[in-house]
């Protein structure tokens, strides 16, 4: 029995009209805890909505190998199976079909094709358990993104696992034993949450300044949108910096430019990033850990708690300083930090590029994909459940670029992250099916080589600092005394492509943009810490800007440099035992000196 597999054999007290106070046996299994995932992938992107990860059968249209695990039943007998799943594409019935096998015997019920997009428990029928050690398997039938959150076996035929979110959360925590104290992962000078470019640079920067740093990342790789899981290339220049010392860690992590959505994932340098992070002796790396709770003390964050996305083991990270590099501003949100989401109105910000009325519009999320050309023809099935295309409208491309994007206020990028990803998948598979089956002369020999199941998110919350960067700051090139990180990217605010909008109003998945050119400008340090959670830094897309200014600051080399700056600032905090604001108010010169060191000519 593998140690990490969290399976609890509980006597679940069930009260029902038919069976008052009956005692029955119940076995709860998180799908993501299966020891052998086969071809299934762990998806934690909706953790904040579901309080759990789940397994995803991401086979790009080809059935994937089974996920298999061994469990111990409390006793033999007749059990009722419940499976928590959904039909991810009920248009009208989705393709995510799978079955459960018990000791090699596949049960009849097919899951994932109910026509309902709600996550809920589905009854899988009765099964005889003749021995207590049992092998379970999840058998994918299509390769088209079936998904399974958890399984329950119960001897009580009147028991239905709870669906109501709060009750379910309690049930799940009780089953997983998460009511007890989380494992202590240590006490740190700086706890960085989020291992994208910003977080990785923040952690390395802090560690190199001598801080004891924890870097917590909810995926198995570092790099976020620049990892092989998302494959967006690094943008923003590091050679025009006011303080050229910033950008050195970004440069170390940069393994060249393979463009967006390159079919060769190795080119994005996951190993390089991991190697650089692991070589820092002051840096403790915690991969596959999703932070979903904070502990507050006297208005400050005392600790964050994260859960292993596979084993569900909880860990507690205490510290003096925290850096929210989650992109979504998750830690700030949990800690009660002020934030904005969507677009401010022109009246509020005075920006010419802001809309007249504030709204919930955000830039979208991309799931990139690529095909490769083979020597022989391949097939791809019809996908009636996907977005439908025709000669009149389809996207005649063998790979994706940044334009493949869903969001634009049609979906909430945090609470509907799963729906956004799924909409992207429906666009990709629907279009690819059209190209393969209707344009065989051009695409017969092309094969999907890679489709991202992790969404490359552009925008969510923006945590507010003592300064909120605006369009005017950028276009006027305002040099504040704490101007620190040099940004160079255009104001690049995507919107739905007009033709896509015509055919899919309110369901757009293809973007356009207009680049508003800017001269290099500096982002003030005051944009990099929360204005009301005193020990919280931020770096990345969730820093303190307006929506318009975010259009320029959001690119990953720039985000990485924000992280580097946070690492330096955190070291000043520790040296004087002060909070981030005091660095601006009392020790700004020292911070500037730190980022200026070793530079022969700095024109101040």
């Amino acid at each position: 029995m593998q140690r990490l597999l969290i399976i609890f054999f509980l006597c679940w007290s069930v009260t029902s009209p038919a069976q008052d106070n009956a005692l029955s046996d119940l076995l709860f299994i998180e799908a993501e805890s299966f020891t052998d995932k086969g071809g299934w992938k762990i998806d934690q992107q909706s953790f904040d909505v579901m309080s759990s990860s789940y397994l995803l059968a991401h086979g790009m249209g080809r059935p994937i190998p089974d996920a298999v695990t061994t469990v111990s039943f409390p006793k033999t007998g007749t059990y009722h199976l419940w499976v928590r799943t959904k039909d991810w594409a009920p248009f009208p019935k989705g393709p995510g079909k799978f079955q459960v096998a018990v000791n090699g015997q596949t049960l009849d019920t097919e899951f994932g094709v109910s026509g309902s997009a709600e996550w809920q428990w589905y009854y899988g029928g009765e099964t005889e358990i003749n021995q207590t050690e049992v092998e379970l398997a999840l058998k994918d039938l299509t390769g088209f993104n079936g998904r399974c959150d958890a399984l329950v076996f119960t001897t009580d035929d009147s028991f239905t696992p709870p669906n109501q979110p709060q009750v379910l959360m309690g049930f799940r925590r009780a089953q997983l034993g998460l009511t007890e104290e989380p494992t202590n992962a240590g006490n740190f000078d700086l706890v960085v949450i989020g291992g994208g470019m910003a977080g990785t640079c923040a952690a390395i920067s802090g560690a190199r300044q001598g801080l004891k740093v924890a870097l917590i990342q909810n995926r198995p790789v570092l790099g976020g949108n620049n990892s092989s899981e998302v494959r967006v290339h690094l943008m923003g220049d590091i050679d025009k910096n006011y303080y050229p010392k910033l950008g050195r860690i970004v440069d170390e992590l940069d393994s060249g430019d393979p463009g967006n959505g390159n079919p060769d994932g190795d080119l994005y340098g996951d190993e390089r990033k991991l190697a650089v992070a692991r070589s820092e002796k002051n840096l403790s790396l915690f991969l596959n850990t999703h932070v979903d709770q904070v502990e507050m003390k006297d208005g400050q964050i005392a600790a964050v708690i994260g859960r292993d996305i596979a084993s569900n083991q909880e860990y507690r990270f205490s510290g003096s300083l925290f850096a929210d590099c989650t992109g979504d501003g998750t830690v700030g949100h949990l800690a009660g930090a002020d934030y904005r989401a969507g677009r401010e109105s022109q009246a509020e910000t005075g920006e010419s590029l802001a809309p007249e009325e504030a709204d919930n519009f955000t830039l979208g999320t991309s799931n990139l994909w690529a095909s490769v050309e083979l020597d022989t023809p391949t097939t791809f099935p019809e996908t009636p459940w996907a977005i439908q295309f025709s000669d009149e409208y389809h996207i005649d491309e063998h790979k994706a670029d940044w334009q493949w994007e869903t969001g634009f206020g049609n979906f909430n990028t945090i609470t509907e992250a799963e729906e956004i990803r799924d909409h992207n998948l429906r666009a990709i598979y629907g279009n690819w099916s059209y190209l393969k089956n209707q344009k065989a002369d051009k695409y017969a020999n092309h094969e999907l080589a890679w489709v991202a199941y992790i969404g490359g998110k552009r925008e969510s919350r923006r945590l507010l600092g003592d300064h909120i960067l605006t369009q005017m700051d950028i276009q006027d090139g305002v040099m504040y005394s704490d101007g620190l990180v040099t940004a160079t990217w255009t104001i690049d605010l995507h919107f739905p492509n007009a033709e896509n909008s015509k055919y899919f109003p309110g369901e757009e998945f293809f973007a356009a943009t207009k680049h508003i050119r800017v001269q290099p400008y500096t982002i003030p340090y005051r944009c990099l810490y929360s204005r009301n959670v005193p020990n919280l830094f931020m770096a990345g897309r969730d820093i303190s800007t307006t929506h318009v200014a975010f259009g320029s600051t959001r690119v990953m080399r720039t985000c990485g440099m924000m992280g580097e700056a946070v690492g330096y600032a955190a070291s000043v905090c520790r040296k004087y035992d002060v909070l981030p604001r005091a660095v601006y108010e009392q020790h700004l010169d020292e911070l500037i000196d730190l980022v200026s060191e070793d530079i022969v000519e700095v024109q101040k």
Binding site: F91, P92, S114, G115, Y122, Y123, P384, Q388, D391, Y503
Partner: protein, 359 residues
Amino acid sequence: MKASLLLILTITTLFWELIPPEKKVFEVNTNDSVLVEVMLRYEAEQPQEYVAHVTTPVCKEGLCHILVADLYWDLLGNFLRYELPPDQPLTKFDHKEFTKEDYEKLDKILANEYSLLGEHAIEDLVDESTELVSEEVDAVTGATVKAVQNTVVSGAVYSTYALWHLANGEIARLIPTYTQQQLDEDLLQQFFASDYYPYHYYAIDQLKPEQFFEYMPQLIRLVKESSIFVVRYALNKIPTSIYQDSDWQNQLVQQFPDIDFNAQQLLLKKLQSVPLASSSMEVLAYHLDQLSEQQLTQVLGLMTDNPQQVNKASIDKIVLLLDHTNPVYHQPAYQALKELSAYNSQAQQALNDHETSSP
């Protein structure tokens, strides 16, 4: 001799018959002051497409070459294709012939009526500061401005620009007006009967509200066979009076299983605002177990909104859902039967039967 003459005459006549007849319909002066005659071609006495046989100089600072091409448009002014004389291929800077890729790129560019080429003067498209000097002749050409590199065939900015403006300029704008002037019953029928989706939109747009009844056979054909986007367009344009007519309503509902999800949703939405005929309901009831949860709620809602029209066959289909293996169906089906039972004795009976047989 006579026989030879007769043979030649016959062959000439046959040859003439093979060439689709065309007649000049209007002429256009291009920016380069070249007069272009636009012809309408016929096949089987039906207008097929417009064509212009173009011979135009493409010039840059006095250095010119002659571009000879036949350009074709559909009857609505959408550019279709160009044809070149076999001995006069397109050339790039330094008279290099277009490659296969260049032609493919040109096809894409010309097909984009919203190209940046429409917004820019030719001078904006070449970077005069980085002139390339021809090694072959005493000619210079500016390097293509980076921003429009995808908009032109590299090394052939002037040809691309000239062809795009011929294809998507004044001629394309005048054709719809000319076609509209010629529109009669025959041409409208031709558009409806065509397999070419742009004509379907056009034909639907020509119908006045009172004409829809007359053209419903043609519209049903489009719903069955045209582009998914035309289907949605047609379902939207069909007036409420048609949806209220039980026969046409039923014919439209018959298409429900075969149209795509978005069109299904549109049809259900249209049905919500009209009385639903018993026959239509039966068609929908037959497909209940193939619906998504959302659709099931909508269809059962249509039934409970029209309780008197729900016949025994439809009730039976709802009853089947009560014991269906898909749990998503149970509750809505039970709820619908309960609501229907207040007005419909068969529903009442079915509910009673189910409840007495349940453990």
